[in-house]
Amino acid sequence: MIQVINVSKRFLHNVVLDGVSLEVQDGETVALLGPSGVGKSVLLKHINGLMKPDAGDVIVDGLSVPRLKRKEIQQLRSKIGYVFQYGALFDSMSVYENIRLGITDETCANDDGYCNDRVKECLRLVNLAPDVAEKYPAELSGGMKKRVGIARAIAGAPKYLLYDEPTSGLDPVNADVIDALIERLRDELGVTSVVVSHDVRGSFRVADRVALLWQAKIRADGTPEQVLASQDPAVQQFLERDLEMGLIQAEGEDRAKHGA
């Protein structure tokens, strides 16, 4: 279980998180929504200890993340897969080496046979052909990079998966592919996931619960239906604007299909 308890974080005079609390049950997928620059990624980085809160606590798997020592946090991170916004693939390494680096268990990481099988399995899970393993990140498209990023994150068979804007910068078709992939991984691997996004349509599709981060606080938290029914003007404003964008994109796709 992941618990974010009254977390506050500021950068100089900019308060990014102000007493934010969030709970993610085991096996649950929570979408954290909010406008760009509101602090969603900052909150995600608190969960795997890449950032420390100014106040409050983050508990993952029963451990208080900010209080963990170097070795302990490394051990905890091996249970948490993190999918970065732009993939963050190591560009000097091939796709194979990138995914292999995600195998965090030391005994397995030194076993070439296991690693080869695991890399193939991870590529299959993210719908990529085995020959992609030989390529370098510079040779991949944006969507493929995201999928390799996901493959690297799941290579260590993590208990938790954190997705940072998994569909940003992708066209609607590729965004749908990634959303379907998140759903599939949830069903096949049973991981606990937090998906940070500003894509309402996709988030509602993949999430069991949705939380809206607005002006440094959690403004709404509930099932997609509960959040959609919220009377809070800020929630309505955010959802309407994003759903409108989704509709415009869908219409554009339809027109393109019929035109073709």
């Binding site: 991170r77 993190y82 970065f84 916004q85 693939l89 680096l101 995600g102 965090t104």
Partner: protein, 266 residues
Amino acid sequence: MARRATITLDLRRLVGRWSLRAADHVGRFTFLVLDMFRGVAEWRIYVPRTFEQAQQVGYGSLFIVLLVAGFAGAVTSLQTGYQFTGTLPLYYAGAVISESMILELGPVLTALILAGRIGARYAAELGSMRVTEQIDALESLGRSPITHLLMPRVFAGILVIPALTMFANATGIVVGFFTAKGSLGLTYADFEYGARYFFRPLDLWYSLVKSYCFAAAATVIPCYLGFNAQQGAEGVGRSTTTAVVSASVSILLLDVVITQLLLGVK
């Protein structure tokens, strides 16, 4: 009067801001160095990568180091001839060329070239890894960027720079001798006599100690600055420039300090 007060206030703010920034750098740098000491036990991770880096840095820098050392030896030889001809015995040229190369030109020129060459490379590599979240990705995979990225680069520099310094010393002396032979008509026997007459084993140790210290400055500072790069491509560019300038200035400062400590006349 009011104008004066504003200027004083601004100066105070400026000094305050600079002091805070300096303290921040000192703190971060200290923690980074401490983390490197803590990571020494994880040799299985950094040793293979150190050899890879050393190979890249060593082979890549050999030509430019030898070229510059050769030119330095030739110029020293020509200037010695210009100053000493007709006033001092010719064998003094052997002493001046070899001692200049071993004590000063070999270590300092090699370190300055490598501060520019590998310092810029380390800062740019680590800086772009930082801004593209590759360092965060490494940490999120439960790996330490200190042992995976920094220690191999620093140790490769510490391994390679002293070795290159010794090659530079030898090249400078050989080229210096041939230049003196061509321009002054200095014989090998005279050159060797002069070189041996003033040589002390401490000189070579001094050269080696200096090159180790310079190697640390030329690698740790760029690694630190690249590791802490911020704000996209502009930040990477800034950290790279700062890395080369800071490493070069540190080398020159260390040169004075080490010379005073090891050879200083009391």
